[in-house]
Amino acid sequence: MAPALKASALYKKKEGTLSITSNQKLLQWVPREGDKTVVITVGDIANLQQTPETAAKVMLKVFEKSADAPESVTHVFQYNSTSNARGEANAIKDTLSVLLAAIKANDGNVTTTASAAIPITSAVASNQGSASAKWYDDDALKLDIELQQSLMKKDQPLHRTYTEARKTKPDTISDSQFNSQFWSTRTNVLRAHAVEKNQKRGSYNVLSAVKPKVVDNELKMNISAEQIQLIFSQHPLVKRVYDENVPKLNETDFWSRFFLSRLFKTLKGERVADADPTDPTFDRYLNGSNENRPNQRLLELHIPNIINLERNEENQGGSKGGNRPDFTMRPGESAKVPIVRSLNSLSEKIMAHVAPSDIDPADPIGMDEETFNSLALRDLQGSAKENRIILNIKQQSQFFANETPEVSTEAALYAKQVPTEVLSQIRLELSLKEVHGRDGKGIDLGKAIGVIEDSDSDEELHHKIPHVGSKASIANATKQILEGVKSRRIEIDGSDAKSSLSGLSQRIFERLVLTHATTTEFLHHFWLLFLSGDPDRAGELAKMVETLERSMDRISAVAEDAETERNEVIRIERQRVRDLYEKTGKRLKWSADAVGGGKVIVKAMMEPTIKTLQKASKEYKKALAVEGIDTY
């Protein structure tokens, strides 16, 4: 980029230098003597003016509007360079206008939430670098309509919720406001979707992926241009062959012969059987090297000396003496096990193009602290000191000395009792004959539990309170236990789909689900606005309240529909019963209560939502009353 521009200029009748800093963020004027430097951030420049070419004096007027200053400040610089005032002025002016234009374009991305949506024209111009900045910028995500639409295409229920809510929103909320509200709670979903879309497939081994298909008795093969590119980049030899031969052969011929040739098999790594057809054009290259420039990559790597085994070659006889490695590991013999070698080298090449995940290219060459730590011998050092944070748990009992807790019902009852009486009563109980054995014999437990085997339940009904162990009480106990077992069992077995719908048809149920989703959405926004305490958004709040009322109406509408449906079902059933009676004379017992569904069920299902809606409007009215506004 252009180097820092300098020009000599006058500011407020003082001489000095006007310059743009090299990072192009600041425009500054430094006086020749004295220290009143003027620094203007390029971002704050609202407007520029320069005297036209024909004027004698060359002046630059900068309108600066910084974020916290109430008004814009004007700076006037007069270029007084003897040699090239006009040229310098033009240079500075051009640079500044380019910078300003760039800033204005970027500004289009970032807007406040209250403003209307500006479609992203610069989304087209944005490159890879700004994409990642966009992901973390909540406001940018909210304004990216393309992203939202692709997300909705992918996620059908979300799309339905969106269209439904949009259809039913009150007209006072504008479309853009609705959009921003809807997406402001879903920014994390948008972000995940953006990241997902941005992922690309990495490079792969093309030669093994390409296979001929047999169609109509002849071999067909489809290769895309992308695959051809990949082949060329992975196998420079093929590129060389192509470059040398293609003007003579045509493309389709070239590729069809290539895939049948021995060269192809060698590159894939398969062994070349003698039965393979030879092809004069390609066989010339059978021994050609498939490397870009051999060992170029190795030289680029910087291996720390502590693990560099090649250095060992200089010390001893190296691997030449000693045990011979396995025949797959022997260097230099490529004919025996070509697949190992070619796969390895191919993988290396592919991996070299993939962005390294564990190496930061900005790291200094040589070992950094992390690798040193991983290579260091930790066992020889002592054990680390424990680094704990002490929590100061204070005793809280002294806080409650003065508390008078609320008195529960039991405590009130207990307070009425006299302790000595209570004790004596208990003592009496324990000395009763039932529990106090006499003469070394224990209690007669049979009598103590009070179960009278042959008693009739009639006798026991005479007593107001059945005695412990009476048949009636035992029966009640059994009943309670069995009820508990039954309700647990229903939970364990799970309810089947029919009963969970409770007689509502599938269509009505889906409508109900959708209404519920949209109502929850609106409620969410209402509470966000209401509790934020931000007076600027009070207007939006009033509109939200309208929306909530509409939601209430929508629920009633669904209830009405369910009711009509239910009546329809009842009518049909009644008709059927009547027909049956007329035909066969049999009377079927059937009551309308057996038919589920209808308004009652809908209201029961939506009861919590209805309650929340009522609570929300109540809170709002209360807050209005506090402010002194009359609600009609």
Binding site: I426, K441, L531, S532, G539, Y620
Partner: protein, 354 residues
Amino acid sequence: MDRVDGTEHYKGDVSQGPIPALLLIILDTNPHAWALLNRDLPLSEAIANLLVFINAHLAFHNANQVAVVASHCHRAVWLYPRPGSSSEGVDMAGGETPAINDANKYRPFAQIEDQLLTSLRDLIQTTTPDDVASTNTTQMAGALTLALAHINKATLAFSQQIGGTETTADHLGSSDDTSGLQSRILVLSVSGDLAHQYIPIMNTTFAAQRMRVPIDILKLAGDTVFLQQASDTTRGIYLQLRSPQGFLQYLMMAFLPDQTSRKLLVAPTQEVVDFRAACFCHRKVVDVGFVCSICLSIFCSVPEGAVCLTCSTHLSLGEYGSKPAVVPRKKKKRRKLNGGDDTPSRPGTPVPNK
């Protein structure tokens, strides 16, 4: 070789058959509450029914064990086994003849009955009216702690008895329950007002959860606070009796099966659990409150100076509690430099139609 000569049969491997169980009963003996209950279920009858239940439990397996703790108004006391009685015994020369010498009563049953009643009577004798007047509630946390310690001891003793050198640290945390003693706790609760013991009770609940000891609750009277959570977390049974006269039936039908049988049965526990907690500052039961992000202590209102009471960190509140603003701020009218219109509501000057 073992299979041929039948050595397996003689090894006495207890884990082949049904596993013995330890039933630990916590009897809430709050005198106030029992006095109120006297009309429906007098204490004497309750104790008698409880003894029948204990006998039934012991009858299931000859290695089953039982223990009873009384949770009294000011302390928790062992009722059975009587503390100190194990040290006495044969050594006492000419010691007391066992109080119950009935030939018609199965000796272990008689022994338990005797010790239980004697301990209970001693407990009541030593209670003064001041003790009774001093508190409304019972020492549930203390009783639960005693229970868990006893379970731990019994489990260790049992595994040493059968296994010899096995370490029981694995048993307590292991997922397979097929070896070792199966323990459970049954709480007969008649009092409420346990909010002051919230923290200790939750601690014992989590310890029981770790040890896989279900805590069953049988509620005769009193509000339910926290005991529901205890039984829910430890997968025990919670029952609130509708007809206290059928006390024995409840015990026998719902609480008698041990853990292995419960896997095959549907438990009649109450499904709606009250998950509220008590605030740490006032011990009030709250459902919406403030939580310290460091130590997770719960407060019903903002503590003084916004300093957490347990860990003493300074906490900030954020935007919570700001007054909801329903009136838009009145905009100041500004004169713009360019003379642009900022009062769009004012109609423009009428232009004659062209």
